[in-house]
Amino acid sequence: MPDSVLADQQKQFSLNRPIGEVIAQLVPLARADEAGDKVRSKLGCWAAACFFFAVVSFILSAAVSPYFLALAVAMIVLGIVNLTKYNRKKKEDLSDNLRLCAIPLLAALRDDFGSEPVEITLDLRPPLSNEKKTNEVKNGSGMRKETVTTYVDPWLSLDGILADGSRLQCSVVETITQRARWKRSASGKYKQKTKRKKKVDVEVSLTLKAKRFDVGGITNAEVKHGENKSTVSVSQKIARADDTPIPPAEVLNVIAGVYRQLRPARSS
């Protein structure tokens, strides 16, 4: 397994290093992303404020003094500058899965992986990026039109040897369904409403040493028995009513779900 960074620019990473080094490499990215999110939020607010004051200035230029027209033009220019900066920052945005799930998950498992190299593949492109769009269906027409867009985000794949001698393979694939439709508000205006749902598939495979673990008590997983090892595979689907990142505990629950059913092997 060669150590490689596939493409920073494309926000996709493939690393094969001890987990401490992986975390050390990902933390600066997460910090930069968090700072970028804050800057983007400010830029967005400033752009909106500039456009609002531009409209107010236009009204005042007609009602009070023509000098307000210059202020309105200045506000429009400032708004466009902020909007341009906002869009530039948006291109640098990384998936929040890094900060809110991947790093805490890896940090929690740091002692379990120890100093052995871990093969990890991360796709940090935002979940709703065009590259992750797999399907788009438009239903109805006119103001009753509804667009259903599906995004598939296989953002995490993890493979490493744990300190107890087991091999842990884990992958997380998210499917986001976005429904956008036009609705008429109480004031009579038409507004587009967007609703998102997420389904997260967590797949875990654990190859366990027979001399260490007894897998006889496992009921809700696929078990392949070998001479010296057994492989336990489990898959869990997690439904979420929004598109926020899943907490690391959801992934840990699937792995711990297998460990809960293990018994210590008896000496032969």
Binding site: I23, V27, I103, P104, A107, A108, L109, R110, D111, D112, E116, I161, L162, A163, D164, G165, S166, R167, T207, K209, K211, R212, K224, G226, E227, N228, K229, T231, A249, L252, N253, I255, A256, Y259, R260, L262, P264, A265, R266, S267
Partner: protein
């Protein structure tokens, strides 16, 4: 006395390194690796992790998260070690360490982790 810290999340194991100092809060002997730098190496990572606002980048965070996860999920990890049941957790310990070939540090064997095909 060896360090009495328990390493791991899915399974727990003894640290076993030589003691550097006893934790000022819980009194357990700890090695330097399991003493919190933030506390000035006076508290163990378990005790120091009770502080709030730790970030996952901080090595102490994992100890606090582990305690919180065990408490909320009811997960009781298997313990591969020689000591008594872990102070804070209801661990599922082995009948004796000899049953599984001693502490888990021997786990990195040549065939470890490779499944049968």
């Amino acid at each position: 006395m060896p360090c009495m810290a328990r390493s791991g999340f899915l399974t727990l194991r003894d640290c076993g390194n030589p003691e550097a100092q006893a934790c000022a809060k819980c009194g357990r002997p700890m090695c330097t690796a399991h003493l919190s730098a933030r506390s000035g190496f006076t508290e163990c990572l378990d005790c120091a992790s009770r502080a709030e606002n730790l970030s996952p980048e901080d090595p102490e965070w994992a100890y606090g998260y582990r305690r919180q996860y065990y408490g909320t999920s009811g997960y009781a990890p298997l313990y591969f070690g020689h000591g008594a049941a872990y102070d804070d957790y209801d661990v599922r310990s082995f009948d004796s360490a000899a049953n599984v070939g001693g502490p888990v540090d021997d786990a990195h064997e040549g065939d470890a982790g490779f499944g049968d095909s």
